[in-house]
């Protein structure tokens, strides 16, 4: 099973995403922003970082890249797409997901291990989670405040399209404690925290059991691999 990872100028976490895919049992395929050939991958990850230096707005220029345009086209046909952090920003700027992301409420860049609740376990990237499962995923961003119009928020709530919510504290002022959302079909998911940083014991977040033992992020990638195998 091939999962593509797009690298834009300024992307940082593409290799971490590739490693996560490998640890989950998939084959990572590096994709380049300027190439509209997605190499027949079964799913795509838009990784974190600062594509195009966050110029204009975070994700705005990446949303126009040839590779992204192909992702937009194939997402409409059901291609599973995961946007992590800057990748989430690219997804909202591409209009694959509604709303926007603004500077954190208290203006600080935040880097911490963050507890999330899985609100929707019926997406391509969350099917192996239990509903309402609480997971620990590293969060690191400056512009992670999710905002949307009242109508959009209402629609997201009613249609069960909030994939993850921040638990215990809302780190960035996101409306309705939203950490991640999905599209109507459930194949496109975007979130600010970084599941690819919680995939291998010894390198993940601290848990009550042991230091750096958190691997909750692995299930994102295993979920999509399971779905691709079954389809």
């Amino acid at each position: 099973m091939k999962i593509g990872v797009i690298t834009y100028p300024g992307t940082l976490d593409d290799r971490d995403a590739q490693r996560a895919i490998r640890l989950a049992g998939g084959t990572p395929v590096p994709l380049w922003h300027d190439d509209d050939d997605l190499k027949k991958v079964d799913a795509v990850v838009l990784p974190g970082g600062f594509s195009y230096g966050d110029y204009l707005r975070c994700g705005a220029i990446a949303a126009k890249a040839p590779a992204t345009k192909e992702v937009i086209r194939l997402a409409a046909k059901g291609l599973p797409v995961l946007g992590i952090c800057n990748g989430f920003q690219v997804l909202v700027e591409s209009h694959l997901l509604p709303g926007g992301l603004i500077r954190n409420e208290k203006q600080h860049f935040i880097c911490r291990d963050q507890k999330l609740r899985v609100e929707n376990n019926e997406t391509a990237w969350t099917s192996l989670f239990e509903k309402d499962q609480e997971i620990l995923i590293p969060l690191k961003n400056g512009e992670g405040g999710y905002i949307a119009t009242d109508d959009t928020l209402k629609m997201l709530e009613q249609e069960n399209r909030i994939a993850f919510r921040y638990v215990e504290n809302n780190p960035n002022g996101s409306m309705n404690d939203i950490a991640g959302i999905t599209n109507e079909r459930g194949n496109v998911v975007g979130l600010m925290p970084h599941p690819e940083h919680a995939v291998e014991a010894g390198f993940g977040p601290d848990t009550p059991t042991a230091m750096r033992s958190g691997i909750d992020g692995l299930l994102f990638f295993e979920s999509v691999l399971k779905m691709v195998v079954n389809s």
Partner: protein, 82 residues
């Protein structure tokens, strides 16, 4: 050089942290009559020829769909400047 100027401001009800920091600094300087500062963007599109109505139309379209994000910003003006 003919150019089209696009002016974009953060939405009125959105917190503008840059503007707030500048306002605080002005207040420290004693400029108490300034009640608020808001900071937006001015984008210049340069042309190597006369600007047509179609160019303006294209600029309005780009301003709405690419240069700004209507969730967080408003396009306040798209104007021609010779």
């Amino acid at each position: 050089m003919p150019k089209i100027i696009v002016e974009i401001m953060p939405k009125q009800d959105l917190l503008d942290p840059q503007g707030k920091a500048v306002a605080n600094s002005l207040h420290r300087e004693g400029k108490k009559e300034i009640t608020a500062v808001r900071i937006g963007k001015r984008i210049e599109l340069h042309f190597d020829r006369e600007i047509t109505d179609q160019d303006l139309e294209m600029a309005r379209d780009q301003a709405a769909n690419f240069l700004s994000n209507d969730v967080i910003e408003d396009v306040v003006a798209v104007t021609k400047e010779d």
